[in-house]
Structures are given as structure tokens and as C-alpha cells.
């Protein structure tokens, strides 16, 4: 089996077999990270493709200062967050169009996203939690997704997000507070 450094060197030379090995080895990790952030399987697959194309095109800029997986996580997270930003912009534009009556037939997306990795007993609760995660500010959403869905330690999350461990601790603490607040509102409405 080829080691990671050799694989990356071969990819830098445009070796297709090396590229295929990298895609096969890391596709679930990339897809799962993006899926957790965008919460839509079709969009997540398209974005995972974008990520690997970026990897192929930009591997020359990878200096090896961080782990390759950290670099990959960083590209995946940035790509997913950029996508959410552009979606938000389009939604805002659609809203303006609906006000002027010139279009904007975009309907509000159904919030109940079901992650395929959740076991059946937790399906409904996880859907409620994902809806709350979706409303988090993007840095909290990224930190929470990387930690909870990918099981990264705070140190690993800090490397991906290019920040300090204490900043990640703070992000996670605020994310938990915000989630509790949202869940409380949700269950106060739906539980009685």
C-alpha cells in the first residue's frame, strides 16, 4: 500500500490512479462533513465532487504543513459554507422578487432532514436537532458538525478552522447554548 506522502506527490504530478485512491479513501469523510453542513444529499454529492476537483487542481499548493486530512476538511467546510452563503443570497433575491411580483417562486425548504447514519430510535429527535443546527451561525455550525458528526477533537477542529483550541471551546459552548434555547422553544410549542 502506498503511503500518504507518496500518494500526494503522485497526485501533484497529475497521476489519475493516485487521484482515484484519494477519492476512494476520503470520499465518505468529505461527503459526511458537507452533508452535515448543507443538510441536503443531492447538494452534498455535487459539493463533494467540487471538493475533489479543487483538490486535484490545488494539490500543488499543499505544502504538508498540516495533515492532508486537515487540508481536505478545510476545503470541504469552506465549500459547504460558501454554498450556504450563496443559497442565502439567492433566497433573499427570491424574496425581493416576490415583493416586486417578478418571480421568486422558491418555496421554503422542508426542514426535516434525516441523516442516514442516525439509528431509527433517534430519527425524529435527530431531525429536530439538525433543524436547530441549521439555524446556528456558520462558525458554530462548522465546529459542531466537525466535532459531533466527524468525531474530531477540539484540537483537530481548531486546525481545520485555523483557530485556537480555546476558540473552538467557546464556539462549542455557544453552539450548545443556542441549541438548547432553540430546542426549548420548539418543545414548548410542540410538546404540550
Amino acid at each position: 500500500m502506498i503511503n500518504e506522502t507518496e500518494l500526494i506527490d503522485r497526485l501533484k504530478q497529475g497521476d489519475e490512479t493516485a487521484f482515484k485512491t484519494i477519492v476512494e479513501q476520503w470520499k465518505d469523510m468529505v461527503y459526511n462533513t458537507i452533508l452535515g453542513i448543507v443538510q441536503n444529499d443531492t447538494e452534498a454529492e455535487d459539493l463533494a465532487q467540487d471538493v475533489f476537483i479543487k483538490v486535484f487542481e490545488k494539490v500543488g499548493t499543499f505544502k504538508g504543513d498540516s495533515k492532508f486530512s486537515t487540508w481536505l476538511y478545510r476545503i470541504a467546510t469552506t465549500t459547504a459554507l460558501d454554498h450556504l452563503r450563496s443559497k442565502k443570497r439567492k433566497k433573499r433575491f427570491g424574496f425581493l422578487q416576490s415583493l416586486t411580483g417578478s418571480g421568486g417562486d422558491e418555496k421554503e425548504q422542508i426542514p426535516d432532514f434525516h441523516h442516514p447514519g442516525v439509528n431509527l430510535d433517534n430519527k425524529e429527535r435527530a431531525a429536530v436537532l439538525f433543524k436547530a443546527i441549521d439555524a446556528l451561525p456558520e462558525s458554530q455550525k462548522a465546529a459542531y458538525t466537525l466535532h459531533k458528526l466527524e468525531g474530531l477533537s477540539y484540537r483537530d477542529v481548531s486546525e481545520v478552522l485555523n483557530t485556537t483550541v480555546s476558540a473552538v471551546e467557546s464556539l462549542m459552548s455557544r453552539a450548545n447554548q443556542n441549541l438548547r434555547k432553540q430546542l426549548e422553544e420548539y418543545y414548548n410549542k410542540h410538546y404540550r
Binding site: V23, K27, E45, H115, G117, V118
Partner: protein, 116 residues
């Protein structure tokens, strides 16, 4: 258990619902799809230009621009003469002046020709 306690319990359970989550699996044909996309991308700028021009908004925009240029050309042309009518001889005399052929044209004025 009070309703508030039940809600708190439900919140805790919800927050823990991702604790045993498994990683979602990507499409097994992801690499094939990536390759197809990269090939499409490598097919060059012609396809890009074609797909750009064939967008309805762009196509209609170009059509309107061509129509506007044509309309402007017509309007400009019809407004150049006096009372909107172009004098057909004016351009001829301008040409004649330019090439200094006025005298030679007069030589063909047979009706007023005198024997010199």
C-alpha cells in the same frame, strides 16, 4: 414529572441523539462522476460560450440589443435629410466635389452645349 421537567429531559435526549451517529456513505460512483465533470470542463471554452449564449436571458438580451442597434440605424438614417427626406443628389455632389470631377460632368451638358 412536571411538563417543564419533561421538556428538559426531551432536550437532553435530542442533544444526545447524534452521539451514536454513523458516517454517511458517499455515492460509490463518485470518482466516475468527478472524472466526467472534469472531462466536460476540459472540453474547452467553446462549450462554455455556447452554454452561456444559449441561456434564455442572454439570448433574449442579445436579440434586443441587435434590434435596438437596427432601430437606431433606421432612425438615424431617416432623420439625416431635410424634413426627413434625403436628397439623392447631395451625396453625388459631395462625391463629385471630393474627386474634383465637377468640370468633367459639365462637359456632358449636351443640351446647353455651344460650339466653341
Amino acid at each position: 414529572m412536571t411538563p417543564q421537567e419533561k421538556i428538559q429531559q426531551e432536550i437532553e435526549r435530542t442533544l444526545q441523539s447524534l452521539d451514536s451517529i454513523k458516517r454517511a456513505e458517499a455515492n460509490p460512483f463518485l470518482f466516475t462522476r468527478i472524472k466526467a465533470r472534469m472531462n466536460r470542463k476540459a472540453n474547452g471554452w467553446e462549450e462554455g460560450i455556447f452554454s452561456f449564449v444559449s441561456k434564455p436571458v442572454i439570448a433574449i438580451g442579445i436579440l434586443l440589443l441587435v434590434m435596438a442597434v437596427n432601430g437606431w440605424a433606421l432612425w438615424d438614417g431617416s432623420g439625416s435629410g431635410e424634413n426627413g427626406i434625403t436628397d439623392p443628389t447631395s451625396s453625388f455632389s459631395e462625391l463629385a466635389n471630393e474627386y474634383n470631377i465637377v468640370a468633367s460632368v459639365n462637359n456632358y451638358d449636351y443640351e446647353n452645349m455651344t460650339n466653341e
